[in-house]
């Protein structure tokens, strides 16, 4: 083997890790500054959640509960999911409730609601309701209590109003009506919902989790205990696309969005460059551009490092 090649790999083996940091940072910064249209393939776990949420469209007797079990540290992955689901609900006139179990999650719920409702004529207590922060210690009685009477279990919303008096509660009594709970977390907290709300009351449970937690949650997806799952930033990007293609679609035939179709989602690529879609509704998809470049970069480094390792080891 050429001595120059061996010297090169010797240098690579001992390179200062901070150069790697710079390259990884650039591989993320450049795609964010110069976004490009890469295809977003929608997977079944995400599509299943979309279809379930969409089945409640324009139905006054159904509602979705979004449970926020995370703080700001996992926001980059979970926040785009939350905004996308809220946007879907507001587009399709679906009643939506929010609740959080960590003190640090309370402002994130407000932030998500404020971000999504900017473009819609929706009203708190009528179209959506934030139950606010409820302490973790009383999660169990609330989860079980919602199976009988949501208004009794939660009592007041984030603004201190009696939940039972709110207009949104009309025709919404328990999990039979609020038949989908989506838990957003950087942990396996969806298991609590599976254990109490699903096992006892048959509620549909879905999870929006950070990529780290995907492997932990897969067994519950495989058994059907989770009816769907958002898997990290990729899941958020998929849902953003679904909302653009179906819920936010407008035409003469479909003035309020169109129904889900496997054929349409396969054939449609939504361009994310340009100003047609606000940045907040394509944040995950632009992020996935950077994610792809960063992954290619890392694969390259792993291959380079391994080749160098074997060459220098054999020579050593």
């Amino acid at each position: 083997m050429n001595q120059n090649v061996i010297n090169f790999f010797n240098k690579i083996q001992n390179i200062d890790r901070r150069y790697i940091y710079i390259v990884v940072a650039l591989s993320i910064i450049i795609p964010l500054l110069i976004p490009f249209n890469s295809p977003t393939y929608v997977t079944k776990p995400t599509a299943d959640i979309y279809k379930k949420v969409d089945s409640f469209a324009f139905d006054e007797n159904k509602a979705v509960l979004l449970s926020f079990t995370h703080d700001a540290s996992t926001m980059p992955e979970l926040f785009p999911m939350e905004v996308a689901v809220l946007r879907h609900c507001f587009e399709r006139n679906i009643k939506v409730f929010t609740i959080c179990w960590l003190p640090a999650a309370a402002p994130l719920v407000d932030y998500a609601l404020n971000t999504a409702k900017e473009d819609y004529d929706v009203q708190s207590g009528v179209d959506y309701c934030n139950f606010g922060f409820k302490p973790w210690a009383i999660q169990l009685p609330i989860m079980l209590g919602m199976g009988d009477d949501i208004a009794k279990a939660v009592e007041t919303d984030s603004q201190g109003r009696k939940v039972e008096n709110l207009e949104i509660m009309k025709n919404i009594k328990n999990y039979d009506d609020m038949n989908l709970v989506i838990d957003f977390a950087g942990s396996s907290s969806a298991i609590s919902w599976i254990t109490y709300a699903r096992a006892r009351f048959g509620a549909n449970i879905a999870a929006g989790v950070t990529a780290v937690m995907v492997a932990d949650n897969y067994p519950y997806l495989q058994t059907g205990q989770l009816m769907g799952m958002f898997r990290g930033l990729k899941g958020a990007a998929e849902y953003e696309k679904l909302v653009d293609v179906f819920a936010a679609y407008e035409s003469e035939d479909y003035p309020n969005g169109r129904p889900y179709s496997n054929e349409i989602i396969k054939e449609t690529n939504v361009p994310i460059t340009g100003d047609t879609i606000p940045y907040k509704y394509k944040k995950a998809r632009i992020g996935m551009n950077a994610q792809s470049v960063a992954h290619i970069m890392m694969i390259f480094f792993i291959l380079l490092g391994n080749i160098g390792y074997f060459i220098t080891r054999n020579k050593g």
Binding site: Y21, L32, P135, L140, T156, T195, A211, A215, G287
Partner: protein, 199 residues
């Protein structure tokens, strides 16, 4: 104006944390300590407002539900964790909490064990279910330590090791994806909200 100032502070703190990648420094330590302090400072009044007032103060002093005094006193025994002599008192609320866990055992067995077992016993009707079957059996055999992993048995358990390695690899891949996503989120903030370069 407020947004500009708050974005500037957030950007300064983000860069302070990132500066650790170069080497440990006072800016990093300051940002780290500030995070802990602010988190606690934020949580204490929120918990007071959202827990103590609606679940303790209002029921006892306004609604006169005096029965609430008993769990309130029980809960306040936690404070004795800080006392060397009276620390044993803090075990009572813990014991009460543990007794509640007993209530969830039947439902947990259903979710964690029965449903998982049922889904592992379905007929093998495709490649995925065949892989799950082989993986489950070989990994279970690998963790059976009453027989030496030699000969044919050792080869079978090796298949289990391969399945686990692939599982760990997938898990690690997802972990890398998650960490990169966090970096993307921060850079989106720096480039967008702070510098206004992406909209």
């Amino acid at each position: 104006m407020f947004e500009t100032i708050s974005n500037f502070i957030a950007a300064f703190l983000t860069l302070s944390i990132f500066s650790f990648l170069y080497k440990d420094n006072p800016f990093y330590k300051f940002a780290e300590a500030l995070l802990v302090g602010v988190s606690m400072g934020y949580a204490i009044p929120l918990v007071y407002e959202s827990v103590f007032i609606p679940y303790v103060y209002t029921p006892i002093f306004l609604s006169h539900k005096f029965i609430i005094i008993i769990p309130a006193l029980l809960g306040s025994l936690y404070i004795f964790r800080f006392s060397k002599n009276l620390g044993w008192l803090s075990r009572y609320p813990i014991v009460f909490g543990m007794s509640i866990i007993g209530m969830s055992i039947p439902m947990s067995i259903n979710s964690y064990v029965l449903v998982q077992m049922r889904s592992a016993m379905l007929p093998i009707d495709g490649i995925n279910s065949a892989l799950i079957f082989i993986g489950t059996v070989t990994i279970l055999l690998y963790f059976f330590f009453s027989k030496a992993h030699k000969g044919i048995y050792g080869k079978v358990t090796n298949v289990g090791i391969w399945f686990m390695m692939i599982g760990f690899g997938a898990s690690f891949g997802y972990t890398v994806m998650a960490r990169v996503s966090l970096l993307i989120g921060r850079i989106q903030f720096l480039l967008g909200d702070w510098l206004g370069l992406v909209k």
